[in-house]
Structure formats: structure tokens, C-alpha cells
Amino acid sequence: MTHVVPADQSTQRAAQTETITVSRYAPFRSTAITIVNLAVFFLIWELIARAELINALFFPKASAMFAAIYNGFADGTIWPELSHSVSNFMIGLVISIVIGIPVGLLMGASRIADLILSPYVWAMASLPRVALIPLLILIMGFDNSMQLTIIVLSAVFPIMVNCMAGVKTVDPSLLRAGRVFGTSRLQTYSKIILPFTLPFVIAGVNQGIARGLVGMLIGELLGGGGNGLGFLLDRAGDQFDAPMLYAVLILLAIMSVGLIQSMRWLEQRAAPWRDTART
């Protein structure tokens, strides 16, 4: 472990690497497994449904569900509701991020702000969202703004609380290093606290997405606005339209998995130093 001089200066990293042979298909292996896995799942579903072991009213054939999705898009019953839900959700999420991150950072950085705001934040963060529906309907009626409000109220607090936790758990020895090497107050924030908090912010947004989706659905199911995926779900239930019910559930699952996965991708991009610590 004395002076390590790279043999080849052209490679920036001195860590020795050797080429190993990996199957050409290796990158596609997990995708292939997922596809086969899902295919088998729907096949078994179809077989169970065809055997009529369970009442078709509760358990339609997988093929009937796919047909409902196809027809729903073809005759224009799904698309307007889907786009309404997605755009509503995205607007709500953006509002939550814009409010949640700065307030959370402020609460983490300032003891006074924390003391003043925390009772409200914690009350709102722990209160079941459904409880707010009657009040919000009273205030805003069955308007779209009521649906948007419930999304924001669901998503903003987890974002806030996580940002606050991030600032509060900054490694004290990094702060000491900052002092030794002369960071100003501003530099302490921009160079130590904010980068340290970034993974917490992303985790908060992740939770915000999960909670926001719940908010979106309860707003649409109970808000009586007459639009969105929740409305579609409600109507399908009333009409005993099981294939449509399942179709909407699948769409919701795809939407949430897509959002969560893209956040995970972003998280790994934003904090590459953390991945060895976890996986």
C-alpha cells in the first residue's frame, strides 16, 4: 500500500479491471423473466375463471378484462377519465413539492420554525385523509378544486416531514469538516446540508406519490365530481361491470408502479453513493 501509480495513465481509474465474458442475453434476462411471470399469472387467472370456481360477477376472465380495457379506450370511456386523473395528480404533486420541500427544509434548519409549525404538520400528517372529505365538500363543493386539494393535502406532509428529517440528520462530522475548511452559512447549506438531504427529499416525494394516489382516489370516489378513474371504478361497481372494475384497477397499478419506479431510478441517479450501502 505504498504509492499507487497506475500502469496505464489513459485509464482514469487506477483500480485494475479485467474483461470478463457475460452472456449477450444477460441484460434481457430479468425482463424475460418478468414477461413470462406475468403471462403465467394471467393464464392461470384465465383458467381459474373459465373453470368458474368463483362467481364470474366477482372474478371475470382475464381476457374479458383486457377486452374491457381495449373497448374502453376504443369507445372513449377510459381515456378522458385517465387523463383527468393523471393530470390532476401531476398538478397536485407539483404543488405539494413546491410547498413541501421549502417548508420542510425550513423546519429542519430553524428550531423556531419547527416549534411553530410542527403541531400542525404532525396533526395533518397523521390525520386520515378521508376525514377531511365532508369539510372539503362543504367548502368547495363537488368541484375539481376539491379533488386537487385532497391530493395536495395527502402528498405535501410526507414530503415536508422527510425533508425536515434530512436536514436534522446531517452527519455532524461533515458539518465540522465544513467549519474547518471555512464554509460560510450559505455554503454550509449549498455544499453540505442540501446534497445530504437530497435522498430524503426523493424518499419524501416517493411517499408523497403513494399517499397522493390514495388522496386522488378518495377524492374521486367520494367527492362525487363525476370524473376520473375513481369515478370509473365507482360506476363499474354500481353496474356490476366486473371486467371494467378490474381493468381500472390494473390501470391504477400500472400508473403507481410507473411513478414509483421512475422515482427509484431518479433516486439512484441523484445519490449514487448510497446504492452500495443498500442493495
Binding site: M1, T2, H3, V4, V5, P6, Q9, Q12, R13, A14, A15, D171, S173, L174, R176, A177, G178, R179, V180, F181, G182, T183, S184, Q187, K191, I192, P195, L198, A271, P272, W273, R274, T276, A277
Partner: protein
């Protein structure tokens, strides 16, 4: 607990290379402690410490854990204000951290989102006084060369071993060319083999850069092989138990002259051992009074 008044042994002016042995760091009857507001007590970590460090000297500090060694180095760094007494660097009272002092931390304290070279750059980018980009590049390259990290500029700390991370920590401390290098158990978290190698390299580096070093350690051997003088700190509240001159020739990590096997090394070692085991036993029997809380 045996009461030992703080005292200071005279030592001959150290002649290291071209540096003159003038006083660089000076602590005068310094006490330090931490307030526990909930219990309304103050834990006294250090009591009446008086100490001088001459320019170019390598001062090792040993003592039982919790004796306030870190508090002492933190006061020199400017993090901790003394309750009484004064710490001066070049005659001026320490009022906070400064560019003349850099620190190497036991837990490295590297920014995990920065590459090795950007971590080193951290030491010279914050304080006022613009350093041109090219000059910075050169100094970073020099510092990384000094600690043997050429080729790892673009690596992230999590990709490096503990020993290599601490090399980054040392490069970061050296790049600003501080007069004083404060090292708080820098090799405490690296394995024994790497530790020996890094001690040898540190001696070589310091011989080249001629910093004044204050070095905290748990290891008696490390203190003797590296230090010009060794300060033995007693149990909490820490007082100076003794200051020992290490009159062993340098370089100490020379194959032809194995300092560790010399008779003098053994003498100093057993003397230190006696002192420290005395303190360790004192810590046990004195555990009841160890709180040393002073109600305010």
C-alpha cells in the same frame, strides 16, 4: 483518583530541518466543559491545561477514552470555546476555525457525493481569496501525489477502502498548506497493517511539508513512533499528567534503524504503559465520581 497537578516539563528547542522552535500554539490554564441543560450540570472535560507547541513539532496526545483529548484538539481548531483560560496560535487568541489550521477526522468526514479530487478541492474553495482554477488543479494533484492517490481522482469515497479514504482526508487537510495539522485519531478506524504503512507515510509527508502536528491517539506505540513529545492526559476531568520527550532519531520508519526494537523505545513504552494503566484503573475505581457534575 490520584490528584496530579498540571505541570509542564521543559524541553529543548526542537530543531527540525530549517524551522526554528518558536512557540506556535499555546494553551494557558484552559478548562473546558459541556453543559447538560436538562440536568443542569456541566461536565468538566479538561481542567487547567497549560501547554505550548513549538513550530515544526509533532505533538502526540494520549490518554484514556473520555479524558478530553478531543476537546483539547477541538479548542485548538476553534470549535469549542474554553470555559476559562486562553488558547493562542501565533500569539493571537483562537476565535474559531481558520485557514492556518486543518483537521483530519477519525471518521474521515468526506463528502460522499463528491469525487476524491472534489473532496480535496473542498478545502480550498470556501474561504475568500480566489485561487485560479489552474493553480487549484496543480495543488490538488500535488496533494494527491503526496498521499499516493494518483489515479483515484474520479473515484467516490464509497469505492475506496478505509485507509484510502483517510489518505483523501489527509490530502484535503494538506492542500490548503496550513501551518498546523490537527489529527484526531486519524488511523483509529483502519486495520493494523494499513495503520503501520500510513504512519510511515505520514512521517515522510510531514518531513516534506513541515507542518506542526497535534496528533491524538489511543495507541502508545503510535505516539512514540510519531511524536517528538507525548502529552499524557489524565482521566476526566483531563489534566496533563506528564509530558514526555521522545528523543529517538528520525526517520523512525527506516529499515536500517528499527526504532521499535531500540532499548530507548522500550523504556518510553513501559513508562507510558505504567502511566496509562494507572489512569485506566483510576477510571474504574473513580467511576462513581466520574460524572463530576457541577450544578449551576
Amino acid at each position: 483518583m490520584v490528584h496530579v497537578g498540571s505541570h509542564q516539563t521543559d524541553h529543548p528547542a526542537k530543531e527540525r530541518a530549517s524551522t526554528v522552535g518558536s512557540t506556535l500554539i499555546e494553551a494557558v490554564e484552559v478548562s473546558a466543559g459541556y453543559d447538560n441543560r436538562r440536568e443542569r450540570t456541566r461536565l468538566i472535560a479538561l481542567r487547567d491545561i497549560s501547554l505550548t507547541v513549538t513550530q515544526g513539532e509533532f505533538l502526540a496526545i494520549v490518554g484514556p477514552s473520555g479524558c478530553g483529548k478531543t476537546t483539547l484538539i477541538n479548542m485548538i481548531a476553534g470549535f469549542v470555546k474554553p470555559l476559562s483560560g486562553v488558547v493562542r496560535v501565533r500569539g493571537a487568541e483562537v476565535n474559531g476555525p481558520g485557514a492556518d489550521r486543518a483537521m483530519v477526522f477519525q471518521d474521515y468526514a468526506l463528502l460522499p457525493w463528491r469525487t476524491v479530487e472534489r473532496n480535496v478541492e473542498f478545502a480550498i474553495e470556501n474561504r475568500r481569496g480566489y485561487v485560479p482554477k489552474a493553480e487549484r488543479r496543480r495543488r490538488i494533484a500535488d496533494a494527491l501525489g503526496l498521499v499516493g492517490l494518483v489515479g483515484f481522482e474520479k473515484s467516490y469515497p464509497h469505492e475506496l477502502s478505509g485507509g484510502m479514504r483517510q489518505r483523501v482526508g489527509i490530502a484535503r487537510a494538506l492542500v490548503g498548506e496550513p501551518e498546523i495539522l490537527l489529527m484526531d485519531e486519524p488511523f483509529g478506524a483502519v486495520d493494523a497493517m494499513t495503520r503501520e504503512a500510513m504512519q510511515a507515510e505520514l512521517e515522510k509527508i510531514i518531513a516534506e511539508t513541515r507542518q506542526t502536528v497535534v496528533f491524538i491517539t489511543h495507541s502508545i506505540d503510535e505516539a512514540i513512533t510519531l511524536g517528538d513529545r507525548i502529552v499524557v492526559v489524565s482521566n476526566r476531568p483531563g489534566t496533563i499528567r506528564e509530558i514526555i520527550d521522545v528523543d529517538l532519531p528520525r526517520p523512525r520508519f527506516d529499515e536500517r534503524n528499527d526504532v521499535k526494537r531500540s532499548a530507548r523505545f522500550g523504556e518510553i513504552r513501559s513508562h507510558l504503559w505504567a502511566l496509562l494503566s494507572d489512569e485506566a484503573l483510576g477510571a474504574k475505581s473513580g467511576s462513581v465520581t466520574q460524572q463530576e457534575g457541577e450544578t449551576r
